[in-house]
Symmetry: C2
Subunit: 340 residues, 2 copies
């Protein structure tokens, strides 16, 4: 069993559950034979979907959960009250070491709460950062923290930097990833109190490739691989990224449809444009991990397609193979005397 | 003289000085006869440019300043040392009530420092916010504070909201402007410590149309007219706005140039696209004011064209006519017992 990556999948979470979720699981096990997926949720609904496909029965197991957490439900309450929800049951599989990772397209807030309370943080991890990959001109960057816990301390930001660098290097496969801290100028003396305190601590870290301050203007150009910031700022960046890209693309579409000549032009340019814009679409990069937990928790988009679900599942293999949780434990142990 | 708006213009500031700056001044006085422009800078350079145009000599006066502040110069030092720079001399004209406003395309940091130290804050104003207009789907929104002083207090954010609402209503001409605070969720209990403390104070303000939290995702859609935040967050939003729009537009251009078919399409679509993208180009909206000072200070883009310079000058008329500085003084006086 040790060569197999076991992924608990929330079959009921997200806008397209259970059909797209189940299809993503099928796609994953049909592509890789070193994966086992636990489909967690309502038996009838899941089995009904499964009956549409042929697959290796040993690679998929259905685990019953009778409740569902709705997308708009207040997270703390949902995790506390719905003990038999697909999210809580799936996370417990990770907690009990029956699964290596949990993947869900469900309620983001509940993922953050459940990750910390059900799966639990690795000892020494002060806060588990939520770390989505955002598209850039040259690829992707990991932005953390985008979670719900704001007003972080400098030592927490330093942990985020380490966790992010480890993830980018060992799971995403970027050698010696460049780490930057979000700031409002390039100079070390710039910034708010938090950034000014964190900057010298990051400079002291010999285990990461810290390149200094990153202005938000430079982020879309892909100047660094790991972008560290406090969660309020991370949320502002992530949501502005999504919002501005969405608005600009729709404004451009309106522009293209505004005259007959431009409509013809748009028709000719469409395939090339589509390919370009696709590379800037966050949804193609699978899931965002919640780092620093006793097992991996991955959140995919609420409207994830089967391809995103499949990518999110396959992402878990590298995490398991590289034994990230253990590496985090070691790194924290080495670090503790200094920063705790 | 009282019906004339007197604008001191930094003839040496910005990438295109003095030629574009002088041309902008000429355009302004040729369009409006209720303006007088003081062109501040090196006599020879300015007179050389002026000799190219015909204009009403009474509307333009050259004021000598023998020094220049470079674009990359450390601001505090520059303002302190270069007493005879075009920026300091121009700001002094406002301080001494010889001009109603100062317009510059020069060093942003120096504008912020000089605005507060040379022109000076209105009594009771705790911090003078820098407030650029950012383009949205429906028009523009005023984003403040984007200045250099971070880690603001709740009472300062409340002042920003008031100053911003006053500017949008009386200078830009938006009736009963909607004011929102940047937050990471719609609910009142969301946010960092600063936002949670500020939110109820804004709700209590009967003189502004406070609509609550605004998520950064919604900003490009134009959900509110005045967007209030602390300067670190303001800088992140402003610079990401510029950076992401720039990267996306260049990625789209590359996409359009990638195949022969798409190239032909691009050629046909170009006029319509150009018009659309122009509306999302921050540079078309003239200058960003530094609010709460004893006179108006307006910063235009470093690479401002004559049109932007002209627009920035003309913007000052409404500020003068509406007697904004006095209205701020009254509003602060009414407010002082409660919030100081």
């Amino acid at each position: 069993m040790s060569d197999i990556t076991r992924v608990a999948l929330d079959a009921m979470g997200g806008d397209n559950a259970p059909s797209m979720i189940v299809q993503g699981a099928i796609d994953a096990v049909n592509e890789r034979d070193d994966i086992k997926v636990f489909l967690v949720g309502k038996l009838d609904a899941i089995n009904n979907e499964l009956s549409k496909y042929t697959f290796n029965k040993e690679q998929i197991e259905v685990v019953e959960a009778t409740e569902e957490i709705e997308m708009a439900e207040p997270p703390v309450n949902a995790i506390k009250k719905k003990k038999d929800s697909s999210m809580v049951v799936g996370m417990k599989l990770v907690k009990d070491k029956k699964a290596d990772a949990f993947v869900t397209a469900g309620n983001s807030g509940a993922v953050l709460v459940g990750g910390q309370t059900v799966v639990g943080r690795i000892k020494g991890i002060k806060r588990a950062p939520f770390a989505p990959l955002i598209p850039t001109r040259t690829g992707v960057s990991l932005l953390l923290d985008c979670g719900a816990n704001v007003d972080a301390r400098p030592d927490q930001l330093v942990q985020f930097a380490r966790l992010g660098a480890m993830y980018m290097e060992q799971v995403v496969g970027i050698k010696n990833p460049k780490v930057g801290i979000v700031n409002i100028g390039a100079e070390e003396e710039k910034g708010n109190a938090l950034v000014k305190e964190t900057f010298p601590l990051l400079k002291e870290c010999t285990d990461i490739n810290f390149i200094g301050s990153v202005e938000s203007r430079e982020i879309p150009e892909g100047v660094c691989d790991v972008i560290v910031c406090e969660a309020f700022v991370g949320n502002v960046i992530l949501k502005l990224y999504e919002g501005l890209a969405g608005t600009l693309i729709s404004v451009i579409k309106e522009g293209l449809m505004s005259t007959t000549k431009s409509k013809i032009g748009a028709l000719l340019a469409k395939p090339a444009l589509k390919k370009t814009l696709k590379s800037f679409d966050a949804s193609t990069y699978g899931g965002a991990p919640l780092l620093g937990l006793e097992g991996l928790v991955v959140k995919t988009h609420g409207n994830a397609s089967n391809i995103e679900v499949k990518n999110s599942i396959i992402q878990c293999i590298a995490f398991k193979e590289q034994d990230i949780a253990n590496k985090v434990r070691e790194s924290i142990a080495n670090d503790s005397p200094k920063n705790d």
